[in-house]
């Protein structure tokens, strides 16, 4: 009986220690399934642009950081429930998300694109190379009209709760049959299997998949930016408040903004972006 008691006490104490010892470290949540932004290597370690950038930013802030994994569809709820203090998961800064959380300044930006399998009827659409939905104008309108016609009745696959899903749901390209997946990996699998007529995601997500899998995935139509696609990718942080934790969150936002400024000036962000994306996606 005594042994049992000691054993029980031991568990309680160790639980208590594990809670308190994390109090001063910054926990950063990432998905680990959206290469080249963030992903995992063969042995399950988190790698990618944002994992390395997070470590650099923490070094600048002189803070101790741990990076934790979280499924994409629970990312913002997990932040709100204080499972971690910041999101670095290729999350674009959008007005929709800013209703619930706040963002640091953007650290990187890249365009979204439709992808199809080679030989698809959607290849060779007559659209400009890229459209910015915030700027608008005749070209954008014409391109959206072309897309509406081409995508009518087609199944377009996206990862759930993304800017890409928001764009398709917005009706800018008419009524398409939107199919949502938990991860981008699953979107890629079903694009290759032919269940999806097209898929919409960050252009690099497709080029990365085509390169690694050898599957004939090709980008079609214009690249998208602005509007529903947000204003670059930033660090997601809880909205600050007047209580102790709220003040801490507000300070964290300031610290991240300063660290991003510094990292940008020192060329760290562009260096990492070129390494992972193949071009300078920093901002």
């Amino acid at each position: 009986m005594n042994k049992l008691k000691i054993f029980g006490m031991g568990i309680i104490i160790s639980l208590f220690l594990s809670i308190t010892s994390n109090a001063e470290t910054i926990k950063i949540g990432t998905e680990g399934a959206y290469p080249p932004w963030n992903s995992k290597d063969a042995s399950g370690n988190l790698i990618g642009f944002e994992v390395e950038l997070a470590n650099e930013l923490c070094a600048i802030m002189k803070a101790e950081c741990t990076i934790v994994e979280q499924d994409w569809d629970g990312m913002i709820p997990a932040l709100l429930m204080r499972k971690f203090d910041a999101i670095m998961a290729g999350m674009s800064i959008t007005a929709e998300r800013q209703k619930t959380i706040t963002f640091s300044q953007g650290y990187a930006d890249e365009v979204a694109s439709l992808a199809v399998m080679k030989g698809s009827s959607l290849e060779g659409m007559d659209t400009p190379e890229g459209i910015n939905l915030t700027l608008g104008g005749g070209d954008v309108k014409k391109a959206l009209k072309t897309l509406t016609g081409a995508l009518a009745g087609k199944t377009v696959c996206v990862q759930t709760a993304t800017i890409h899903q928001n764009f398709l749901d917005s009706g800018d390209v008419g009524k398409v049959n939107v199919r949502t997946y938990k991860t981008q990996d699953e979107v890629n699998l079903d694009l290759a299997s032919g269940r999806c007529d097209a898929a919409l995601a960050a252009a690099v997500a497709f080029t990365d998949y085509a390169e690694k899998s050898g599957k004939p995935v090709v980008l079609v139509g214009p690249t998208f930016s602005g509007g529903a696609f947000g204003n670059g990718v930033g660090v997601g942080i809880r909205q600050g408040g007047d209580d102790t934790i709220g003040k801490r969150d507000a300070k964290l936002l300031k610290d991240f903004n300063k660290a991003i400024d510094k990292a940008r000036k020192q060329g760290i962000i562009s260096k990492l972006a070129i390494k992972h994306f193949g071009f300078d996606a920093s901002m």
Partner: protein
């Protein structure tokens, strides 16, 4: 607690419940036939047929339903040869992939439930039938099957409830069932607790109905 969100999400979740019920009824319907077939095969004296039926129920009861649905949906979709056959017409649709996975899964459990029900029938009852000059076929259809169904009602009721909850995995293969729509609402409102409480309540209500239906049937067919 955001009560407005909870109330607003009810109609959307209820219309998604229709898909959940469709998946459930289709897989239970096909699963009952699969289960009965394999229960009969399990009682066959031929060792190969017997082992085959045993192997089926062993594999499908011994692996998670999520793994089964992933193998059928994402796994089979990767086989290029399959995509050129008529099977792809069915396997292309997430709806049918889910029904196939659920059917095979519930079929395995149902076969075990029915087999044990058959085995609880006292030999005396069958012998009594034989001594009255009733043929084996009629003994099977008119005596063994009705008794087995009555015997298996409580266990089968549990299986229906388990399967009903299992249909929530359909959302992992893009189907917008009750769980799928709940996740969709969460993805735009970022409020999982409210939405999952409503969705959980709907599941609970379905369990309540199934539970009472089985209880009623048990009373009606008691002897």
């Amino acid at each position: 607690m955001d009560l407005d969100l909870m109330i607003n999400s009810i109609p959307k979740l209820l219309s998604a419940t229709v898909i959940t019920l469709k998946l459930l009824s289709a897989s239970l319907f096909f699963g009952l036939f699969v289960g009965l077939l394999f229960a009969i095969l399990r009682m066959n004296k031929n060792i190969f047929i017997n082992k085959f039926a045993y192997g089926y129920s062993y594999v499908f009861r011994g692996t998670p339903l999520l793994v089964q649905i992933f193998i059928i949906y994402f796994g089979l979709g990767q086989i290029e040869y399959l995509r050129s056959t008529f099977l792809w017409v069915i396997l292309k649709e997430p709806y049918w992939c889910a029904i196939i996975a659920f059917t095979l899964n519930t079929g395995a459990y149902t076969s075990e439930i029915l087999r044990s029900a058959f085995q609880t029938i006292k030999p005396g009852i069958i012998e009594a039938g034989k001594s009255l000059g009733i043929s084996n076929k009629i003994i099977f259809y008119k005596i063994q099957i009705p008794i087995a169904i009555r015997q298996s009602l409580p266990a089968y009721g549990n299986e229906i409830i388990l399967m009903m909850k299992g249909t929530s995995l359909a959302s992992t293969v893009t189907l917008m069932d009750l769980t799928g729509v709940a996740k969709y609402i969460i993805s735009t409102t970022f409020k999982p607790i409210e939405v999952f409480i409503v969705a959980g309540g709907i599941y609970l209500f379905m369990t309540f109905l199934i539970h009472n239906l089985i209880k009623y049937l048990e009373k009606k067919y008691s002897f």
